[in-house]
């Protein structure tokens, strides 16, 4: 089964288990997870709107896309809705979507007062509930092909970091060299904002829907002595956020999920003490001690953690 259909099956199972019979998604990462569609990347988070609907019982999907370029074959042209600028058309389409009128529980991945009113009108019998947590829970552990995609994205980010580290210009010039190298290596879309400040760099990208990234300090310590080494070692199945706090160095640190972009859990000195790591989760692990910063992308395995980002730079 193709990767996006495996992912969709996970999402459908999770939604069904939560008693949600209809999903209205507006966040691109959730839409990518479910549909596998390659849509144009834009920076920044959009306002909430109904970009994709999923009838949980039938699996029927409608996707906002004027064309089938980048859309997997399992979503036919007659299940694409063209871009619209009309609120009336958005309403008519939603109202005509099979299953929504009778839905009892409609899941949404964000909320605005205007959209809440619209959804109440088209699903008059439904409770409108947030479902972002259900989808993110389903996304938390990664399939083998997802890990491969993350590893490939890490290699692209490493090309950017390397170019910025060896460049001897200003920080702005090093950033320019880094984003140029990343584009040549396979991604013109950043995950986080690239960083080059003094001898510290951090580069990340989204490549074919998946994030990869790493951070380095020029002339920093060898891998085993980097600021986040103790945190990486602590990323084992069953480790809690509290365990990670005990393993963390003095200074800023963050362990957070990574997959189709930034994902939960978020574990730092303030949040996430109750979270528990599982095998096949992928996390970004970063820490700063003194003047040294390091970040890597790490796969939690049944044995020792596997670092997916290249050791060099």
């Amino acid at each position: 089964m193709s990767l996006h259909l495996q992912r969709r099956a996970r999402a459908v199972d999770a939604l069904a288990s939560a008693g949600i019979d209809f999903l209205v998604a507006g966040r691109q990462d959730h839409i990518n997870y479910i549909t596998g569609a390659h849509q144009l990347w834009t920076a920044g988070a959009r306002p909430f709107g109904p970009v994709c609907t999923l009838n949980v019982a039938t699996g029927e999907i409608f996707l906002l896309s004027t064309w089938d370029e980048g859309v997997p074959d399992d979503i036919d042209l007659d299940h694409l809705h063209g871009i619209t600028w009309s609120g009336a058309i958005i309403y008519q389409r939603l109202a005509a979507t099979p299953g929504i009128a009778a839905a009892q529980r409609v899941g949404i991945d964000a909320w605005s007062p205007g959209m809440a009113g619209l959804l109440s009108a088209v699903a008059p019998n439904a409770e409108i509930v947030p479902a972002d947590d259900i989808l993110l829970e389903a996304r938390r552990t990664k399939l083998p092909s997802e890990v491969d995609a993350i590893r490939a994205a890490c290699a692209v980010a490493a090309a950017g970091a390397q170019a910025a580290l060896v460049h001897h210009g200003t920080d702005a010039q090093r950033l320019a060299a880094g984003v140029e190298a990343m584009a040549l290596a396979g991604s013109s879309t950043p995950a986080a904002e690239p960083q080059a400040e003094g001898n510290i760099v951090d580069f990340s990208c989204i490549r074919s829907h998946y994030e990869g990234g790493l951070g380095r300090t020029a002339n920093g310590a060898p891998p085993a002595a980097r600021p986040h080494a103790s945190l990486i070692a602590a990323c084992v199945p069953g480790a809690t956020g509290h365990d990670l706090r005990l393993a963390a160095p003095d200074g800023d640190w963050l362990v957070r999920g990574l997959g189709m972009g930034f994902e939960p859990p978020v574990i730092n000195s303030r949040y996430g003490a109750h979270e528990t790591l599982e095998a096949n989760m992928v996390v970004s692990v970063s820490a700063t001690t003194g003047a040294e910063y390091a970040r890597d992308t790490v796969l939690v395995t049944e044995s020792t953690p596997e670092i997916l980002s290249p050791e060099e730079p």
């Binding site: 920076a43 920044g44 871009i83 964000a110 584009a183 995950a191 986080a192 994030e211 972009g261």
Partner: protein, 409 residues
């Protein structure tokens, strides 16, 4: 026929203090008109409008994870900024929040209760977005919530002089980066190589916020050979992987980047490695005629419908089926500002009644993007930006050549 317009906007100079003061005063006035006690803003461009804390040009998941939040209270002299970097801003700073996770949303709720005081209990509060975590943790559950979208749409529709200066700068710098890219467009080059040049050059032009994965889309010469569409018309702009361009390929270019939170919109048509054929050049000349007719019709007080009618009439001789000279899933004109596409929209699927009911007003910014298509030949599409003045319009950016197409003398 016209060369790309140039002129007056070059004299616009950004005064950041004035930009902030004038926007904030407009926001306060609109809140009073809308009867709002408070505005709570999470959408990045809205936060920037209220506080000048600029949006980060990163993936949506990163931007939303620990996004800054702006709170504007009626009659308060400055906005509250939760998170973000308050250095150098005229804001009341508050700790960062993580509204996408339940613990962070609970923190946000507590901060909002403290900032809003009595307004959190029955006050009229406009908000533009809530995360699932905010819904789960009951953020602002005791307030009288309304959508902030209308308030924001009203204030951003007419630009201040500093907003025009920002759009002008965004467009000038994006155009400068694209001039280098066009030199790199030779047979055998890949899309990723052009993107690399563009992203480097943008930063060299002082822009670190690229807002859309830059588009160099090779166009099939016949619609039937391109992607299938819901409109039966063109597919543009699509995701297109990493094609290698060959001599004679027809490339439609589209890019947008931010200068001080304001978007550029660069559109051009290029041909790889050779001059345009006479048939391709004719498409360009039809496009110029549509632009000239549109420029002529753009005056304060004109209805959207009048501009659309003028543009349509200019190409009517080439349209046996009465089609309009723009892509049916888009528009003849869209606005630009803190969003890459915002009101005014002319010629959309909002329909003729909408276009007849709305008029151009001073301070509106228009991106003209007609598109000409001659099936079998291909087509021509470029974009130009103008700002409506009291008695006409001025170009923003502007002057970027139409090479390799030639403007007839």
């Amino acid at each position: 026929m016209s060369n790309p317009p140039t002129g007056a906007a070059a004299e616009l100079e950004l005064d950041v203090g004035r930009l902030r003061r004038e926007r904030y005063a407009k926001l306060q006035a609109q809140m009073a008109a809308d009867g709002l006690d408070a505005l709570v803003l999470l959408h990045g461009p809205h936060v920037a409008y209220a506080t000048d804390c600029l949006p980060i040009a990163a993936d949506a998941t990163h931007v939303s994870a620990n996004r800054p939040v702006a709170v504007v209270l009626a009659d308060q002299s400055q906005p509250c900024l939760l998170g973000g970097d308050p250095n150098g801003l005229d804001v009341d700073p508050h700790p960062a929040v993580w509204p996408d996770i339940d613990e962070g949303a609970a923190d946000l709720g507590a901060q909002l209760d403290a900032i809003l005081g009595q307004s959190a209990h029955g006050g009229r509060v406009g908000i533009d977005l809530m995360t699932g975590a905010m819904r789960r943790t009951g953020v602002l559950s005791a307030a009288d919530i309304t959508d902030a979208a209308n308030t924001m749409a009203a204030v951003k529709l007419h630009k201040t002089v500093d907003e025009l200066a920002c759009i002008h700068q965004a467009q000038v710098r994006t155009s400068a980066a694209m001039a280098t890219v066009q030199e790199a467009l030779v047979p055998g080059v890949r899309r990723s190589e052009l993107a690399a040049v563009f992203l480097r050059r943008l930063r060299e032009e002082g822009i670190d916020a690229n807002m859309i994965d830059v588009i160099f889309q090779p166009m099939a010469r016949r619609m039937a050979d391109g992607p299938r569409t819901t409109t039966g018309h063109l597919a543009f702009p699509t995701w297109s992987g990493d094609p290698v361009y060959a001599e004679g390929d027809l490339i439609w270019v589209d890019a947008g980047s931010d200068y001080h939170g304001y978007a550029s919109d660069f559109g051009r048509t290029w041909v790889v490695g050779r001059p345009p054929t006479p048939a391709e050049q004719r498409c360009f000349e039809r496009w110029l005629a549509v632009m000239d007719a549109s420029y002529e019709a753009i005056v304060p007080g004109a209805t959207f419908a009048e501009v659309c009618a003028a543009a349509t009439a200019a190409d009517a001789a080439h349209q046996p089926h009465g089609e309009r000279p723009w892509m049916p899933h888009f528009y003849l004109v869209h606005g630009v500002g803190i969003e890459s596409a915002e009101m005014p929209f002319l010629g959309t699927d909002n329909g003729p009644d909408f276009d007849a009911a709305n008029t151009l007003e001073p301070g509106m910014v228009l991106v003209l993007e007609p598109a000409i298509w001659d099936d079998g030949t291909g087509g021509y599409r470029s974009e130009e930006i103008v700002a409506i003045t009291d008695d006409g319009w001025i170009p923003l950016g502007g002057g970027h050549p139409y090479d390799p197409f030639e403007v007839p003398t």
